[in-house]
């Protein structure tokens, strides 16, 4: 029978590959399938099955595989088939354990059958092939894209299609993305809702920081171009997550990245504080989202930042730092650092989404850069960047993003007015810290949340975007970023605030969930700036913030920091120094971010102070922001605010951070001189935000 014949007579002649180590079952299955008039190939080894599939993907329409096999786990085979060949796979098992079924579903199985298999069940398995084909735009067979009907709205279709198709979907998705860009705002909501036009509405998925991080990691691993929802889903291996969810999230993420890039450029142009923040946030976020391999972004981001001259801008109002970072970070393509993925992703996504929504692209932009900074922790920074973005008023605008964004933005807004952009950062963080998870709903996370997340500022932004939940995670990671000094932006990782001390940013770690991301962001941002070299995570995180700041003030504050902050400050300072001019701003921001993370806000303060100082060109004192340093003043204020807020937050939440930060803070305080002048943070609105 020719292929055409088979197709014409479908489902008759459908080519099935059956895999089961049990010969009895295999034989029975084979005959049952033959009875259904399918064309059957059998093997009792999964490895052999894979070989056959790889040899010619088009030789089969459907795969049925047993779960328990000696040579390879059935789920693993399922994953591989889904990733490599994107064929529908049906799981077969003697177990009806819910957990197993769930696992099958989350790994992408189109169905789960129980042994003994009855012929009635096999008679309908062809539907899975049709369904897949329909969704696949590529499919010549009737594609039922129309079947799905326009209801899905592009997004829905996109997601669906992307799920099914691999490349095709991607293209389609991309197309959709463009199409829906304008709809981005709506998209957010639509994405999820419309994702599955055919099936019932699924409950809205909250893209927590952790989830987003995984997402970003998956996307990075696959490569943004090749990232299709199905594969991402498989890599993420999250129960309960559907392809549609991933698809819609991916769409947003892409948009976010796009915006981030745009933002970055915008930021550069803007040079205004607000924009910075935004940019930073955006960037951070973007970076975030793309977790460009964490490392990538940072270096790139940083460089981009620096180059973009955003840094220069950074010097201007504190916000600058963030922003500049963002811009640079934005530059980073969604490279999604693996690290970032997890945390950043959410942020990134948010940012992406935010961007569309946010008007304040600037902020976000800045943030994205930070994201990049961290490469590893990038995620963390993203949080920060996000925050920035969020803070950016525009952010809030980003209606697209979950509410969280708004919050972020709001948070930032609430943050010191002085800081302007900075506050955003802080705000973001604060928000982030809080909610990260709650992002959506969370009102400007503000620094308050920072306590733990002190990062929130930075993070907030992103977190908002993300689902906040994610942000939290991200923040935490971000926070970790601050911790960097010790490790590579832990931001991405859920900060648990432990090591925060090192980096002011650790803020995120501290409590925040947000910390993760935010921290990352901040670090990222800052880090992206020259920090990259240091590789310190912190730098990344801080890089974002600090980077900007660093350049100028950082050096000073960093000194302090280093001591306490441990690596963080060092990182910060280091990177910052390099960045110096530009960085200073970033540093400030980063410091802010840091601060956020660490309760030690003091540290952050100092950082901020330094940043601020740098930013404003004034003595780093800003970085010193140590809690009391609000001196950060507007420019620094932002940072300071963050710091302050962070302090506030941090102190609150970070139990651990306090310890860490305290010494740092102390130092900072000594140096508070910095801040006094510069910092002027408006008293951390951040704090208030928080």
């Amino acid at each position: 029978m020719t292929v055409e014949d088979q197709i014409d007579r479908f489902p008759v002649g459908m080519r099935v590959l059956a895999v089961d180590d049990d010969p009895t079952c295999l034989k029975v299955l084979e005959n049952l399938l033959r009875k259904c008039q399918y064309h059957v190939t059998t093997t009792n080894q999964a490895i052999e099955a894979l070989r056959m599939l790889r040899e010619n993907r088009n030789k089969f329409d459907l795969v049925i595989s047993d779960v328990n096999m000696p040579d390879m786990d059935g789920f693993k085979l399922l994953e591989l088939v889904g990733l490599e060949m994107d064929l529908p796979v049906i799981m077969l098992s003697g177990h009806s354990d819910t957990k197993l079924v769930m696992k099958g579903v989350t790994h992408g199985a189109v169905d789960y059958l129980l042994k003994p298999v009855r012929i009635e069940e096999l008679k309908n398995i062809w539907q899975h092939v049709v369904r897949k084909k329909n969704f696949d735009p590529r499919d010549q067979n009737k594609a039922s894209n129309d079947k799905r009907g326009p209801n899905n709205a592009e997004e829905g279709n996109q997601s669906i299609m992307s799920d099914d198709g691999g490349d095709q979907n991607k293209n389609l998705g991309k197309k959709r993305k463009d199409q829906t860009e304008e709809e981005e705002d709506d998209g957010e909501g639509n994405g999820e809702d419309n994702d599955d036009p055919s099936s019932q509405k699924k409950p809205r998925v909250v893209w927590s920081v952790e989830l987003h991080r995984k997402f970003v990691a998956a996307v990075n691993q696959l490569g943004l171009d090749k990232a299709v929802p199905k594969k991402i889903l498989d890599l993420m291996n999250v129960e309960g997550l559907t392809r549609e969810n991933v698809a819609s999230h991916l769409q947003k993420y892409r948009l976010y990245l796009k915006k981030a890039t745009q933002q970055a450029s915008m930021v550069a142009a803007l040079g205004s504080t607000d924009s910075y923040l935004r940019m930073g946030s955006i960037d951070g976020y973007a970076e975030f989202c793309t977790p460009t391999g964490s490392g990538r972004i940072s270096s790139n981001a940083l460089q981009s930042y620096a180059s973009s001259g955003i840094f220069g801008r950074l010097n201007s109002p504190a916000s600058l730092s963030m922003r500049s970072i963002s811009s640079s970070t934005l530059i980073q393509p969604p490279v999604q650092p693996p690290n970032l993925n997890s945390t950043l992703s959410p942020l990134g996504n948010i940012q992406a989404s935010i961007f569309p929504a946010n008007q304040t692209p600037g902020l976000l932009h800045g943030i994205p850069t930070s994201i990049e900074l961290n490469q590893s922790k990038q995620n963390c920074t993203t949080g920060i960047t996000q925050v920035n973005q969020v803070s950016c008023s525009g952010f809030t605008a980003a209606s697209g993003f979950r509410d969280s964004r708004h919050t972020v933005g709001t948070a930032s807004n609430s943050l010191p007015s002085a800081a302007s952009s900075n506050s955003l950062m802080l705000q973001g963080n604060s928000q982030q810290t809080h909610n990260l998870g709650a992002f959506r709903n969370q009102p400007p996370v503000r620094p308050a949340s920072f306590g733990t997340d002190s990062f929130d500022v930075g993070i907030c932004g992103p977190s908002n975007m993300l689902d906040y939940n994610r942000c939290n995670e991200n923040w935490q990671n971000a926070a970790q970023l601050s911790k960097f000094p010790a490790h590579p932006l832990p931001l991405c990782e859920p900060f648990n605030n432990d090591p925060l001390p090192s980096t002011g940013i650790s803020v995120t770690n501290t409590n925040t969930h947000i910390g993760h991301s935010p921290v990352d962001y901040s670090s990222r941002v800052a880090i992206s700036i020259p920090l990259e070299d240091t590789g310190n995570e912190l730098q990344r995180q801080e890089g974002l913030i600090g980077n900007i700041l660093q350049s100028s003030s950082y050096t000073t504050p960093s000194q302090r920091w280093e001591e306490h902050k441990l690596e963080y400050s060092q990182n910060l300072s280091r990177p910052f120094n390099s960045v110096n001019s530009e960085v200073s701003l970033s540093r400030v921001t980063s410091s802010l971010g840091h601060n956020v993370n660490q309760k030690n806000a003091t540290c952050s303060n100092s950082v901020d102070a330094s940043f601020v100082a740098q930013l404003s060109g004034a003595p780093p004192s800003i970085t010193r922001c140590t809690n009391d340093d609000t001196t950060l003043k507007s420019n620094d204020a932002y940072i300071l605010e963050q710091m302050k807020s962070q302090d506030g937050f941090i102190q609150n939440n970070f139990g651990t951070l306090d310890d860490i930060m305290v010494p740092i803070v102390k130092r900072e305080q000594n140096e508070s001189t910095f801040l006094d002048g510069e910092m002027g943070f408006e008293a951390y609105p951040v704090g208030s935000c928080i």
Binding site: D22, T24, C25, N31, L32, K35, N68, P116, I119
Partner: protein
């Protein structure tokens, strides 16, 4: 051919009794339905495969249970497979015993496992005998029909 009627009837009755006694379940019917002109010996083939597989598994199980340190996971995996294949051909009682066997494995109850193994072996030999009888009768029928 008339001479075969009694045999035919005998076969039917015998099969019915196996169902009634729970040795076989509906899955066996499905197997029989799958058998047709293009696949005349399907049932025998499958059941033979089952016998071979079961023998092997029971052997593995026996060996595993006399080990000094029993690997329950492996034990469980074997039992699971036996359960799967017995359910595929409709050997209901064997399948049932396998389920309780698995419980013992999960509880790491050695005594229980040993007992279950005995039960499984017992049920298996029973159903094997009966099916072999059935097949012989069918062979006679086919042979008788020429």
């Amino acid at each position: 051919m008339d001479g075969m009627v009694p045999l035919q009837k005998q076969i039917l009755d015998y099969t019915a009794s196996l169902f009634q006694e729970g040795y076989l379940d509906d899955q066996f019917n499905q197997l029989q339905e799958l058998q047709d002109e293009s696949n005349p010996d399907f049932v025998v083939e499958v059941v033979t495969l089952f016998f071979e597989d079961a023998d092997r598994l029971l052997n593995e199980l026996s060996k595993a249970l006399v080990q000094e340190s029993i690997d329950f996971r492996r034990l469980d995996a074997h039992v699971h497979q036996l359960k799967g294949s017995s359910s595929s051909i409709g050997a209901q009682r064997v399948q049932r015993v396998c389920i309780s066997f698995r419980n013992c494995c999960q509880e790491q109850n050695i005594e229980g496992c040993l007992k279950s193994l005995q039960q499984v072996k017992h049920e298996y030999s029973l159903v094997k005998t009966k099916l072999e009888t059935l097949f012989q009768m069918e062979e006679q029928l086919v042979a008788g029909r020429g």
